[in-house]
Every structure is written in structure tokens, then in C-alpha cells.
Amino acid sequence: MKKLALAPDAEQHLVEPLRHIFCVNRRELFKLLGAGLVVGFCARTVLAQESGRAQEHEVPDELASWLHIGGDGKITVFTGKVEMGQNIRTSLTQQVAEELRAPVNSIMLVMGDTDQVPFDMGTFGSRTTPQMGTELRTVASAAREALIEMAAQRWNADARKLTAQNGAITNPQTGQSVAYGELTRGQKLTKIITSDPALIPPAQWQIAGSPMPKVDGRAFVTGQHKYTSDMQLPGMMYGKVLRPSAFNSALASFSANGADKLPGVKIVRDGDFIGVAANELASAQQALSLMQAQWNSPQQISEAELFPYLKDHPEQEESRGFGGRSNHESGSIADGMKAAAKTLAQTYTVAYIQHAPLEPRAAVAKWNGTKLTVWTGTQRPFAAKEQLAEAFHLQPDQVRVMVPDTGSAYGGKHTGECAVEAARLAKAAGKPVKLVWTREEEFTWAYFRPAGIIEVKSGIAADGTLLAWEFHNYNSGPAAIDTPYHVANKKIEFHPTENPPLRQGSYRGLAATANFFSRESHMDELAHLAGMDPLQFRLKNLNDERLRAVFETAAQKFGWGKQAASRERGFGIGGGLEKGSYVAACAEVAVDPQSGQVHVARMVQAFDCGPVVNPDGLRNQIAGAIVQGLGGALFEAIHFQNGKVLNPHFRDYRVPRFRDRPKIDVELIDRKDVPPMGAGETPIMALAPAVANAIFSATGQRLRSLPLAPQGLHLSG
């Protein structure tokens, strides 16, 4: 059996779920005890997998569970990955089409349906292209070989002389040709993969490697695509949940206050969970506004105390830590600092921010006896399934989770809380229930990108050679924490915080944005300290050829060094590598010296993720990441006080809009000689430091906190 290991950094993407513990009634308890050992055993297994300790999952080798070719030539591919705008439905289709030598429109992907697809950890960590892409290419290649073999037998020909092209096997010598569907005649193809078949080298790609429009694009521009939040089931009711007044609250008292008398309304109370299911959304809303609850809330850390708190409350050494510990050490910092001609010590911070996916968390739950089916927008359908099984004391085979292509996630939809809530309401109501979180709930009860404080100390020689690099990240995370620059003496540590004030979880790129920001800002400061051009300073200390290439490509396209900065205009650069892909960005900012307003006028970003599967889709991803990253760089921050979020609306949580959009140039370095890597995350990482460095070049102000300029710059004189 082939084993699939969890990527070492995947653990950082795991999020502590919101716990829903429902009371079990006597009958259920007896039922539970009867099958309890099994359920309990499953639950422990689930827990072990969830915490990332059991890092292996068996992947079935049977071809039929991955890919099916019907007698009509239709090819169905089963994958646990989900589509949420990153365009993998298209790029995976291209890769299958490539290896199988079949037309793109003959291929259909079944994604994220736990009853139909093989287990998958989830769609995160830029793993789809390197992991799932390679797996699907492998099965498609094996399928192609099997089809060739079948044709060879049919014609009594030498398989090595036959070719596969455009959904048919051809014998060039005889001119014979047979379509795939004709060969399979609707049978299931059950070939076992016993060895890795040869994959088509990227240099020979015909379908992959070329721009491909989104396979079902028409459904999106016509409004026909059904997201979870669009679903309607017969007899379906609408759910709402009564939220506590602050985080970590316990219910003190509750009064339905007449809500239970409203027609078509069912109030559900279970432990501290209070919700409503109603025939009409308006009645659910009305019931919610009538109900009265008092909550006991503890005193909680507020935004003003955040950074000292994060630094002063380290997690105990023996505990796991969010994302684990990730330390890199070599040489001696003391020696490096002693040898240095110049030294520098600075502190950087990043705020809590929200993903704010435009489709909020949504779920439709339906019970059929003890079988539960839930449609929900999640990045981890199997984790949601396990969460549901645990909450309702069900066996895994009693729960099915399906994920319609989702209205984005950005790392924010790893958990299944909305699914659990919808299922609880549906169970009580005895009817299917749809629950769509409001924007305010999304801003408050979803999890946040961790805030962090980062301290950097460094030393350079007189000629600009980096001699010492000490880097401590408190709480925000270890992703991309190591420096790609050559330095003999380094000490790099991540320090998780015990009980951080807000519920934290993954965000596109994890802490790499924070660590890039701190490192590349600091490198800029060092360049100025050394009296060197920031690009030249980086190249002087950089051996990695692929990273040098993206820096040089971005700089050349940008015209780096060709224009002098002024009070109104500044230029900055930043870059690095993460998850196997390489990025460098040059930013041009426009500053209004009167108002202090900052606008990012132009971004040039060079990117190398190995061989490009869908160049147009990749450009879209990269430009999108730049726009999204602009929000966290310039103005996004969650404000909070004593367990409450103070700005849970778009009117006071500013996200990038049309006016904020820079002119964006994307330069792809299409390397055919290395394995393909993911691209969902790394393109967001270089923007913040490039912009911060550009603001410095215009104004002389060194901004060391993200967001950089939520209210514009404070310019004196």
C-alpha cells in the first residue's frame, strides 16, 4: 500500500475547532453505550489524526476509486480536494487530460464528497499541485497504459507501437483506432498500481502548460452555480444561532421571550448552544431578536495589551505549540555580532486579521434517520465529517459531507462549526436546515490570522556581508521563518504563546507574510546601514539561484534603480521562498505629502513554482494574492476589547477595493526541469515588505507594524 505522509508544515494549518458539546439524552446514552466502544475508538483515532500526531493515512491503490472511464468515454475523477476559487478544478483536469491524452471536456471531477472520494487531509498548504496533481497524473498515466494494453490485446499488436491521443488508442502502422469508451464498455477499470508509471515530462506537455479557461466558467457568470448558501431542499428551514456577548462566555440565563410562540419557529437549546430553525428566514431573524440571554464573561486581554502579552506568555516547553516549534541554529550569534562592523536590532509586529471570504460559512444539513448529510463550504471535508461524527456520536459511515465549489476561503474554512450547528438545528427540527453565518458572525466567530511580535538582531561586515542573524517570532507562527540569505551565524526561533487572546488559525501563507515582512524590512534597513542598494545588498548575500532569478527578473521588469525616489514616490523590493516556490516583488508607492495617503501605484512580481500548469490561472492567482495582501499590508486589523470584536463589518474593517488596486505586472519563470509546486500562498508574501520599503524610500519613515498605514502616514513638515 502506498502511504501518504502529511507535509511537515501541514500541522500549522490545523485549527482548534469551536467545541460544541451537546447533551446526550438517556436513550441516546444507552445507544451510545451499546456501540460506545466503537464510537469511542473512532473518536480517539479521529482525534489523533486531527492533532497531526498520526501523520499517515493509507491511500487506496485501486484505480477505480480515483478515476472511472465510462462506456461513453466520460472520465470521472474523484478527489478529496475542493474548489474555492484557486482554480484547481481546471488545473487538475488539465493534468489528467495530459497524462490520459483525453479531451478536457470528457473529464469531470467529483470533489470533496466524503462518500465518494478517497480520504484527503484537506485543501491547504499549496499542496494540490505538487501532491494531488502528481497523484492524479500518476493514475491517469496508469490508466493510459492500461488502455494501450487493452487495445494491444484486442488487435494482437505490440503495445509499444500504439499511441494514445485525444481519447483514443491508435495503431499508426495499421491505421486502426479505438475510443477509450469503446475499450472500457462501462466496466470499472480495476488496475492496481504496482509501480510508478512514467509521467509525461513538463517540457512535452500539450494540454497542461497552456492557458485553459475555467472549466465551468459559464455557471459563474450566469449566477447558475449553486454555492452551499444557494441550496434549497424540500421542506428546508432557515437557521440562526444566538451568539454570546463575548468570547469564552457561559450562559447564565435564558428567556425565549415569546420567540417560541412564533408560527413555524423551533427554538433549540442544548447546553450553552441556543439556536432557532424557522420556515422563513424572517421568522428566524425575528425569533433571534426576541430571545434574551445573559452571559458570564471573564475579563479578557484587549488589543492595547496584545503585544506585551504575546511575548510574555510563552507556551510551556512540553506542549505542542500552534504549528509546533521550528528552530534553526548554526554558528554563534555572539561571534558574529563581535565580528560585525555594524549591528542592528529592531522589532516588528503584525495584527490579527480576518479572511473575510465573500461567501460566509454556510451549511445545509439533512437527517435521514441516523444518517446525516451536510453540504458545507469547508477546506477539509473529512475533518468536518469527523467533527460531525464526534458531536452527534455517530459512526463515520453515518455522516456524509459534500462541498459545493465554494465562495473562497483563503485558509479560513478549515473547520466545520457551521456544519455542526446546522446539523444540530436540523436534528431538533426534524427537517433539513440551512445556516448561513452573517458577516458579523464571520468577523467574530471564525478564527483569525495570528498576531505576532518579531524581534530581529543582526550584524554586517563593512562590505555588507551578513555575519549574524537572530530572529524570534512570538505567536504568529514558524512558516518561512528561516532566512534564505547566507549567514554563518544564525539563531531562529518560534515562540508560541499560551492562550492567545483570540481564536487563531491558518490564513493564506500562514506566518510567512509576517516573517517575510520582518526579514525583508530588516534586510532593507541593513542595506541602508551598509550604504548599499537594497537589491544589490540582497544579491550579495544570496546563493540560491532560483531566488536570485526572481529578484533579478522582478527588478529588471520594474526598472529598479532607474528612477529616483521623491517625497511623492518611493520604490521598494522584497522576496523569498516558501513551499517550494520563489517570489520577488517590486512596489512603487505614491504618497500624498499633504494628506499622508499612501497608494500602491504599481507592483511587479516575479514568480517561479516550477513548470506552470495553467499560466492564465496562475497569473490570476498571483494578481489576486497581491490585491489581497495589500489589505493586510496597509489597513486591515481586527480591533478587540475584552472578548469582543469592535469592527465586525466591512464599513469599519477596510478591505482592498477597486480604488486600491495597483497596476500589476506578473512575470512567470516557467521552469520545466523541476517538479511543479503550489502557488496559492507564496504570491501573497513579498508585497508587505516591498510596500513598507517603498514607503521608507519616499518618506524616510520606517514602518515596522502591519498594517502599515491604516489612517495614512503621519508626515511632519
Binding site: 474555492m84 476559487g85 466558467g217 449566477g223 452555480h225 494578481a623 477597486f658
Partner: protein, 156 residues
Amino acid sequence: MASLTLLVNGSEHKVEVPPSEPLLYILRNHLDLTGTKYGCGEGQCGACTVLLDGRPVRSCRTPAQSAAGKRIETIESLSANGELHPLQRAFLEEEAFQCGYCTPGMIMSGVALLASKPRPSDEDIFQHMNGNICRCGAYQRIVAAIHRAAGEGAKS
């Protein structure tokens, strides 16, 4: 409850709803026109944009009662005859979306813009579209799609 007659995409629909119920929920939950999206419920994101007598409005902030008697057009009206509107085509050609959730609202706002300004400048587009949020950040392509559709309009 109020008994309202709504003229949606050229057809009359009688609905029994609370008079202050936002038009968005009537379209989505009563008329199964789910192309119009909920994004914030506060008129801040534009995902729920529909046309009311040709003017773009946020249907999440439009009481159903105030829409009665007016011409309501949703994303579903644009390709009613199976043929895409030039702006829908342009969105496909520029691939001006990623997750697609903001797309119906973007297209309806863009259709209203093109109706009032057949050849909009970049500045016209920023001005008119700034209330529509795309979290995937496809703004540059959306601007290109609007220009492309405008160019087609000029040709036809």
C-alpha cells in the same frame, strides 16, 4: 405580512412577505433566484446588486415593498434567452473572477455602468464599482472585462 406583486425579470410574482423583508431574501428564498448573493447585509460589498428600473441597488438594503411596481432585473435576466450578455462574455474571456461569488453583483453593477456610460474611463469604473468587493482580488481583470464589453458595444 404584505401581499406584494414584484416584477422580476419580466414576470410578475405575487409574494406574501413581511413588508420590510429585504428584496434579496425574496429573490433568493421565494423566487429561487440565487444568482444574487448575500455578502454582508449592510450594503457594503455589492454581492447583492440588482437593477431597479435600470439603476443598481443593494437588494440586501432594499425593502421588498419599495421594489413593488418597479422593474427588477437580476443576473438571471441577462442570459434568459441562452445567449450571454456582452459583459458576461467579457468576464469569461478575461476570466475576471476566481471563486465567482462576487461575479453576479459585479456584472450587474457593470451592466448599469455601461448603460449610462457606454465607453467608461478607468476612473469612471473605479468610481462606479468601488462599492463592489472582490476578496479574490480580480479587480484588474474586471476593469479589463468592462472595457472589453464597452469595445464590443461600440462595434455592434
